[in-house]
């Protein structure tokens, strides 16, 4: 078996490592939802300027964030309870936990992609609007 320092076994260290990685992901995804709500606000203002109705609500970003955060917390809880009996238990649980962690990061990257596409579409609309107004 591996010779680890007495006070740090995988069992004691793992919750903190998981906490660190999940914490990082939570902060990043929270920031993405902040960006999302800023885009929604800009979209609404632009639609006011161009007299087009906008159906989006900024509550939507909050819902996305809550959903993703719940999934993330569920993963953390899973690793805690399933693997918490022994070092070997954690080593067994780890692959599944890492795959789940990669999955939630995929969700967040997808969210970023979605944000980016909407933003650039909005930017394009803005450019064409300013051209129309400029020519009036």
């Amino acid at each position: 078996m591996l010779q680890l320092p007495d006070h740090i076994t995988i069992k004691t260290a793992a919750p903190f490592v998981i906490g660190a990685y999940i914490g990082v992901w939570l902060i990043a995804t929270l920031y993405l939802s902040v960006l999302d709500s800023q885009i929604v606000k800009l979209k609404r203002e632009l639609s006011l300027l161009s007299n087009k109705a906008s159906k989006e609500r900024s509550l939507f970003s909050l819902i996305i964030w809550i959903t993703i955060a719940t999934i993330g917390t569920a993963i953390a809880y899973f690793v805690f309870t399933y693997g918490s009996t022994s070092n070997e238990g954690f080593i067994d649980a780890m692959p599944i936990a890492i795959y789940l962690y990669i999955a939630i990061w995929t969700l967040s990257f997808g969210y970023l992609l979605y944000i980016g596409r909407r933003l650039f579409k909005l930017y394009g609309e803005m450019q064409s609007l300013s051209k129309t107004i400029g020519s009036e």
């Binding site: 591996l2 010779q3 680890l4 320092p5 006070h7 740090i8 076994t9 995988i10 004691t12 260290a13 793992a14 903190f16 490592v17 906490g19 660190a20 990685y21 914490g23 990082v24 902060i27 990043a28 920031y31 960006l35 800023q38 885009i39 800009l42 203002e45 632009l46 300027l49 780890m94 692959p95 890492i98 962690y101 990669i102 990061w105 995929t106 990257f109 970023l112 992609l113 944000i115 980016g116 933003l119 650039f120 909005l122 930017y123 803005m126 450019q127 609007l129 300013s130 107004i133």
Partner: protein, 294 residues
């Protein structure tokens, strides 16, 4: 503009692929560190890249501030001459003092490996500067926007870094926080850049705000540099891994580390493009509202 969109997608895809690769590498492909800190060493692979990325972000603030002041000022030539003279005099004094101390037998600032600092500085410049100038100057955008967004995302990566750091400290040293030089100076960097935003909110005129933030952004980077070299200059319990003589980690660890480093920088690239576009869009909408309303 399409250059930026292309850049965004490039950074996004790269960040995603490298993050997944980095995570797989961290948890499956690297050996468990058995000498000192065991499983918690896995935090290292993303902790240090985040620190580097926040330094890059604050570096964007520095470059944006310099670029703004360069575009903004008249008589820049005279000021640059004066600054060069002052720096030259200061360097001469510093060297004279160093020689005097050496002659007197007092050891001067031993323990700083200047070559390492130069290596890090050159690597950061080589990676950071072309990226920045490529996007910023090519689009001839407002440098002040880039500077403030750099600070914002620097704070974001900084908070992620602090979360990882606090939990790592708890595992290895069983306390949540120590007043170690690097931790303290990084906390100060975070407070300083938060103060940057307090300054921005207390000035009304856009031009004045940009000028003042630029001046503060340049001076604040001194604090960032101090954080980077603090573990080597002052006594610190923070682990010092990389030295010039010995990489300090095995090759599989080093490769995973580098992959994670590029992953974080790519993520930073994607985020900064998004946020700068949001800020620019907001400005344009405000302008248009003024134009239509007035």
């Amino acid at each position: 503009m399409s250059l930026k969109i292309g850049g965004f997608y490039f950074y996004l895809v790269t960040a995603f692929l490298l993050t997944v690769a980095g995570l797989i590498g961290t948890f499956f492909l690297t050996p468990l560190e058995v000498k000192q800190i065991g499983f918690s060493q896995k935090i290292f692979y993303f902790h240090v890249p985040m620190a580097a990325t926040s330094a890059v972000a604050f570096g964007v603030t520095l470059l944006g501030s310099i670029a703004y002041l360069m575009k903004d000022s008249k008589n820049l030539y005279r000021k640059a001459i004066r600054l060069t003279k002052a720096t030259a005099i200061a360097t001469v004094i510093a060297f004279a003092l160093r020689i005097t101390f050496n002659v007197m037998g007092i050891e001067v600032l031993g323990g700083i490996d200047v070559r390492l600092i130069l290596l890090i500085a050159s690597i950061s410049l080589i990676t950071l500067v072309p990226v920045f100038w490529f996007f910023a100057f090519l689009t001839r955008e407002n440098m002040d926007t880039w500077a403030s967004v750099g600070a914002e995302i620097g704070l974001l990566f900084g908070s992620m870094l602090l979360v990882m750091g606090i939990l790592w400290t708890r595992v290895t040293w069983t306390v949540w926080w120590t007043w170690d030089p690097r931790l303290t100076s990084y906390l100060l960097v975070m407070l300083l850049y938060s103060g940057y935003f307090v300054l921005r909110s207390s000035v009304d005129s856009a031009h004045q705000r940009a000028r003042y933030s630029a001046a503060l952004g340049i001076v604040s980077y001194i604090a960032v540099i101090f954080t980077m070299i603090s573990t080597r200059v002052l006594r610190s319990a923070h682990p010092v891994i990389f030295t010039l003589s010995d990489p300090g980690v095995e090759s599989s660890m080093l490769i995973t580390f580098i992959v994670a480093m590029f992953a974080m920088i790519a993520l930073f690239g994607a985020m900064i493009i998004v946020k700068v576009t949001i800020n620019n869009l907001r400005e344009q909408i405000e302008d248009m509202k003024d134009q239509l309303g007035g």
